[in-house]
Amino acid sequence: MIVAGIDVGGKNVHIVIRKDGRILTKGTLPAGIKKAEAVDALYDQVLKQAGLSRKDVERVVATGSAAKRVAFAHGFIQDVVADARGVIKSFPNARTVIDVGAEEGRAIKLGADGKVLDFAINEKCAAGTGTFVEAMSRALEVSVEEMSKIALDSTKSIPMNAQCAVFGESEVVSLIHQKASKADISRAVMDAVAGRVGSVVRIVGLEKDVMLVGGMAKNAGFVDSLEKNLEMPVIVPNDPEYMGAYGAAEVALSDIFEEAK
């Protein structure tokens, strides 16, 4: 049976098409202003990649902050649930899930059975999200990808005073004026985000294994800063930004399974 999981976030749409346990195809597109249009375009595109059409898909489950934009979805789930279901399916030992996306940071505490025991979200403030790093990247005139690499070369830890992304931009500019290296500034930015994310994680408590998902999990500099902040290794799955969509597809599969019983 073929199902789709669609994650419509603050910045991007992610779609995973699964046939039973296997991922058939997946894809992503910037959500833009007209998110419903982006969803439609991406859905048709990924189906085409797999040689499928919409009628082949038995169930569609949507998640993410703009999940309701998926007009054709059969079900909607909270992003916390999508993360939990996706992670526990592939990493049964996970007890803490950290999801850092473009506009949100979340920490989820999982029970041994994969149930969500507790969670905390920062969705009010760009500090502690990918948007913060993007804003600093503009001020530094270094791409986010480059920042994620050079942050690891930093030899000096510079604490950022600003929490706010708007004030952070001015601080980055003044660090440039003070001749701080781009590597050190990049690390300062990653440390700042890690600090904010770390405080969200501490609300729910930290327990091994710790999984990091969401777009920021692809940022090596950030992963390093977060591990230092949490004083614990974090596990990053393959394609961490697809975890929400993967989890939604997992829910779609079990929905069908439940109905059949």
């Binding site: 009010k124 004030f167 004026h177």
Partner: protein, 311 residues
């Protein structure tokens, strides 16, 4: 947007300076100055025996010492006074410890309270200072002494910088936002995001949907009023209630705040009837520097400070 090869900066408000034509500083006993180096703007105020003599209001540059110098030079520009003629200078604001010509630094909270007392009168009880990168709600007594305060300096929402970012985004000069926010047929719902960065995306979305610019300005002003309201609610507002700082000049925010609060702000005019009569410029951004200069005057009078005047 490009004009004459230079990007237009919609946040860039005009700088001003002034000298009091009714005062001859040579006849004065004490000449004091206050320099308020904020994160966004810098003001220098010069007083002669506790009377308002001159000021300069400029944009803060990349470092505090230069900004302080620029502000002071601008305040002196229309006078025949020199820095050497000043008895005592006090630095205040975010960059107060980096004011090269100052003999002492005093926090901007104390200075704003004192300055507001001088500007608006001794019956002021709550001062809302809305600065470039922070905002403070201050309760004061009849001598302008701080009783209690609440401050937000962590988040750009509700600060002048937040308004500048917005002005730049919608390409409207920052001083036009207040008046234009009332040229609407209906009061729109507030911008729902608190974070300035997220609010920017929300505004882009509204523009994209064809929502009229003036309505978006109204929505932004009301979000800002709402944000300030939270701070005031925690502190407790007492009348006479006044606003100082740059945002006080934005009626779009001030009127919406008054409505939400159910309390009017005091008229932006000198408490001193002579100042009123002679039409001395009343600039809400001057409160901090004015307060600092007044502290200098008191310290000299009480013998707690020594004049550094050279000529």
């Amino acid at each position: 947007m490009v004009e004459q090869g230079k990007p237009v900066e919609f946040w860039r408000w005009p700088e001003t300076n002034w000298v009091n034509p009714d005062i001859d500083w040579i006849k004065g006993e004490w000449i004091t100055a206050g320099v308020d180096v904020g994160s966004v703007s810098t003001q220098a105020v010069i007083m002669v025996d506790g009377e308002f003599y001159a000021f300069g209001n400029t944009r803060t540059g990349s470092d505090s010492p230069n900004s302080a110098q620029k502000g002071m030079d601008y305040a002196l520009e229309k006078t025949d006074l020199k820095l050497e003629n000043i008895d005592y200078c006090i630095g205040t604001g975010y960059g107060r410890v980096n004011v090269p010509m100052a003999q002492q630094a005093i926090t901007e909270i104390s200075c704003h309270a004192r300055g507001a007392n001088f500007m608006y009168g001794p019956d002021v009880r709550t001062v809302m200072d809305m600065g470039g990168q922070d905002c403070k709600a201050i309760n004061v007594d009849d001598r302008g002494k701080v009783l209690n305060f609440m401050m937000n300096d962590k988040c750009a929402a509700g600060t002048g910088r937040g308004m500048e970012v917005f002005a730049d985004l919608i390409h409207i000069p920052v001083w036009e936002i207040g008046p234009r926010s009332f040229l609407i047929s209906r009061e729109p719902p507030s911008i729902s995001n608190t974070c300035v960065v997220f609010a920017k995306s929300e505004v882009v979305g509204l523009l994209e949907q064809g929502v009229p610019e003036n309505e978006i300005m109204a929505a932004y002003c009301s979000a800002m009023a709402h944000r300030i309201m939270e701070l005031l609610k925690r502190l407790g507002v007492k009348e006479k209630f006044v606003i100082t700082g740059g945002i006080a000049k934005n009626e779009g925010v001030v009127k919406r705040l008054e409505k939400e609060l159910g309390i009017k702000t005091a008229e932006q005019a000198w408490a001193n009837p002579q100042y009123r009569e002679k039409n001395y410029p009343f600039d809400t951004q001057l409160a901090g520097a004015l307060g600092a200069a007044l502290f200098g005057q008191s310290l000299l009078e009480l013998g707690k400070a020594k004049s550094v005047r050279k000529t």
